[in-house]
Amino acid sequence: MSARTLADISAGEELLSVDDISLSFGGVKAIQDVSFNIMKGEIRAIIGPNGAGKTSMLNVINGFYHPQVGTITFLGKERRKMRPYMAASQGISRTFQNVALFNGMSTLDNIMAGRTLKMNKNFFWQMLRYGPAMNEEIEHRLVVEEIIDFLEIEHIRKTPVSQLPYGLKKRVELGRALVAEPTLLLLDEPMAGMNLEEKEDMSRFIIDVNQQFGTTIALIEHDMGVVMDLADRVVVLDYGRKISDGEPAQVQADQNVIDAYLGVAH
């Protein structure tokens, strides 16, 4: 298959697929023979018990880890391995399980950082911050402000992120990923450590991102209630292997999944 642009793919067609991925660190086999795909416009959840290889899978998709075996196909282009910069420039952005923001910088600056790849003016102009660079910054600022409005974080626009509570940091991180106008958004446990109200807010944002911007989303989550409500399809990993794949209800009823979560008598 040749490389395609996002516009060539209609909703419900394959946006990304991973085929027979195996990843090991020395003797530890983190992922073994995992294949699944993500369709354009859907919310795809990756779930599994601790250590199942979920985050590793996400890291493979955005090129942070390089699998020993298998291929990744994104936008119709098949690769042995992805590279982080390739992933980012082709429209894959992500958030992290442990919030990874620039602590000393304000919310606004953190989110502006998400636009870096879209800035064209060279170092000289940017250093002057005059003329073309200024115009460019205004354009980008507008995009950023729209996301700030979208995520309802106007009140912390100028606050250094180190002073923010955890739930808001997560939101800022989502903002930074969103301003890159991603084709595929990877969310690593967006709701970990949140209280009920924060989870509800975050779920709302995820649904709105999916509906309003049409962004395809792959997310890792532990809260089963959230996953069942949000996801269109779910893939379940356990000890690095795929044990189930399908719609939430279907996965929930799968004996393999129940065994993986509750354990089986030996």
Partner: protein, 666 residues
């Protein structure tokens, strides 16, 4: 601007024989064409509309609404926060002769449905998806509702749009009509011209302190006259600017943000979001400001808390100059003679302390500030006045279209609410109830003849339901709600709000409910202020996980006991109130909340409801027990229910012999 021009504009200000706000809109679009009418912070920048631009926007909006079927006499609900397009809806509807009905945006779906159903609204304008969802969840009870119009599109794209439109689309409709023919413009102007003084201008629902909200019907003439006379009273003009941040459905906001703004032509600024109000206030620097006492309380609390985190030098400087301002600040503001040394010290204080505080709070340019809605603590009141902020009190009601009394510059006191406002006539009934007649008074409750008759006397005065008296200098003093004033078994007068207010003046106490009518002594429920007490806890290495845990902490109880004792000591010194000192108190295990029906949407305590809900706790207050297990159902913001249970401690407090009795004993 030159002085002549101000005067000239001032001459036009009354608007002559204009009878409705859309007529004022047209006038303002002419006389203040290029002056700002509205600002709104969006994308992090203040966006502005001049009067002529705003008039264009409203015209397009209004014609769009007409195209969708809004007719003279139709009701149109407005639900949301202080956003420009929602304010435009008022004029757009009134221009067509339709009647806007603003609804409290934070009311839960059932409360909202009650108002919409009662008001028989045909159109509902919502701020966002949240409000649309609330309406849709009760749509089967709203047969008259034809169209839903919304401001923010987010999350609404997948909804059935057969009877839903965005405000932008409605305006687009209107613009196309204007482009298609010149008749549209003519028709619109004609429709505005046809607005009569007797036409219904707006229906404002009361917050429902006592039972179901009532729809207060106000005519164009009432609204315009009331606004004109108060605009004159305070000399408001087109150079003023105010920030809209109070609930849109509240008479205060409708009056100050809409009615007075239209008449005086001042600029209204809408905050970016409810969370950014304090930042926006500071950026805008309003010249005209209104806030209920609790807002001033919160401001004072935040200033004090932040000062405690300041360096030792700054703290000393702050406290020194605060003493100076306590001593002479108010006198300087009132124009009374003050010694030279104090004047110089106050001048230095202005540079070093008062000015910066005013700046941080956004009060640098405030010319006139009002507080109303509740009694304000004398200390709190003089704190702000001594900083040089011209804070005054007014007393008002939805039924009066706000103003009943207000304080003139130079006649400001903390313990009274001012003399009768211009053209207002006040009378005290034999039972001690305050009655008034005013230019803005309503003529009837919507669909409630019975209540209307109860409220308006045969000779045309309105009963306020408040007990009060007129002081020697002509200022009105309010004691309490007339029906709340009771007696203890021993015959002593019991005015719950009077006691509650005394306690609420402590920054650590957020809410108080006093009981005692027909009982042998006075007992109270307290709510601690989580911000203030939480900060104190942090400073004293007291860890807590929740409101409930902090509220039941022994040291917090001890602190509350001291406050209650202090109030008893005060009460002992007052002849009327000495008999109703507080004997027992408890700190409630949860914060009183409007979602649970314990407070009204304007944050007033609903006494009877609380008495019923917490009956076991009231028993505990009077049966001598020291603790009581209680389980309470709570409703979360999304409408789900949960339970909070706790063992609440009850404490006895020392009472003091009354000053008069003590003298007799000696």
């Amino acid at each position: 601007m030159s002085k002549d021009k101000v005067n000239k504009v001032g001459g036009v200000k009354t608007g002559g024989d204009l009878t409705s706000f859309p007529q004022y809109l047209l006038l303002n679009a002419k006389r203040f064409a290029n002056r700002p009418a509205m600002r709104h912070k969006d994308h992090g920048i203040w966006q502005s509309w001049t009067w002529s631009q705003m008039c264009d926007e409203i015209r397009a909006y209004s014609l769009g609404l007409e195209k969708l079927g809004l007719k003279r006499g139709d009701k149109i609900a407005i639900i949301g926060a202080n956003r420009p397009k929602l304010y435009w809806t008022f004029s757009a509807a009134q221009a067509l002769g339709a009647v806007p009905v603003p609804v409290y945006a934070d009311s839960v779906a059932e409360e909202m449905a009650y108002v919409l159903e009662h008001a028989e609204v045909q159109f509902a304008v919502c701020q966002d998806q949240e409000q649309v969802d609330k309406i849709l969840s009760n749509s089967e009870n709203l047969p008259s509702l034809k169209k839903i119009i919304y401001d923010e599109t987010r999350g609404l794209t997948d909804y059935d749009h057969s009877s839903m439109h965005s405000i932008d689309d409605v305006q687009e409709l209107g613009r196309r009509m204007l482009a298609d023919s010149t008749d549209a413009q003519k028709g619109w102007l004609k429709s505005i011209g046809e607005g009569k003084g007797d036409d219904l201008a707006v229906i404002l629902y009361t917050s429902g302190t006592t039972g179901r909200p009532k729809g207060v019907m106000l005519r164009n003439r009432d609204c315009v006259n009331a606004a004109v006379s108060t605009v004159k009273f305070d000399g408001l003009n087109e150079n003023d600017i105010a920030l809209a941040y109070l609930p849109l459905a509240w008479v205060g906001d409708h009056y100050l943000s809409y009615a007075q703004g239209m008449v005086a032509g001042y600029c209204l600024a809408c905050p970016e979001s409810p969370d950014t109000v304090s930042q926006d206030l500071r950026e805008i620097g309003p010249t005209f400001y209104f806030a209920p006492p609790r807002v001033f309380e919160n401001l004072l609390t935040s200033v004090m808390l932040r000062m405690e985190d300041a360096s030792a030098f700054k703290q000393r400087m702050f406290h020194y100059f605060l003493k100076v301002s306590e001593r002479c600040g108010e006198d300087i503001l009132n124009g009374k003679p003050v010694g030279l040394v104090d004047r110089i010290l106050y001048g230095i204080g202005s540079i070093l302390v008062y000015g910066p505080i005013r700046n941080v709070l956004g009060f640098s340019r405030v010319r006139i500030a009002y507080t109303a809605g509740e009694a304000i603590g004398p200390d709190l009141f003089s704190f702000f006045r001594s900083l040089g902020i011209n804070l005054k009190q007014l007393y008002g009601q939805t039924e009066a279209f706000l103003y009943v009394t207000c304080q003139a510059n130079g006649q400001v006191r903390a313990d009274a609410v001012g003399a009768a406002a211009p053209d207002v006539d006040i009378r005290i009934s034999d039972s001690g109830e305050v009655l008034f007649r005013s230019p803005g008074m309503f003529f009837s409750y919507f669909k409630d003849e019975e209540k209307t008759k109860e409220t308006i006397t045969s000779d045309g005065y309105i009963k306020t339901g408040d007990a009060g008296f007129v002081d020697v200098d002509g200022q009105l003093k309010i004691i309490d709600r007339a029906k709340d004033v009771g007696k203890l078994i021993n015959g002593a007068m019991f005015a719950p709000k009077y006691i509650e207010n005394k306690l609420k003046f402590f920054p650590n106490i957020k809410e108080v409910v006093a009981f005692g009518d027909g009982r042998e002594c006075c007992g109270i429920f307290l709510n601690i202020d989580l911000a203030a007490v939480g900060n104190w806890a942090e400073r004293n290495n007291i860890s807590y996980a929740s409101y409930q845990e902090l509220a039941s902490h022994p040291q917090v109880y001890k602190m509350m006991e001291e406050h209650v004792e202090q109030v008893n000591r005060d009460l002992a010194g007052e002849k009327m109130m000495a008999g109703s000192q507080i004997s027992r108190f408890l700190v409630l295990h949860k914060e009183l909340d409007a979602d649970d029906g314990e407070l009204t949407r304007t944050q007033k305590v609903r006494r009877n409801f609380i008495a019923e809900r917490y009956e076991p706790l009231i028993e505990a207050l009077y049966d001598g027990s020291t603790e009581k297990f209680v389980e309470t159902e709570v409703i979360f913001e999304d409408g789900r229910k949960g339970n909070i249970s706790a063992t609440v401690q009850v404490r006895d407090v020392k009472t003091f012999p009354a000053a008069a009795m003590k003298e007799a004993a000696e």
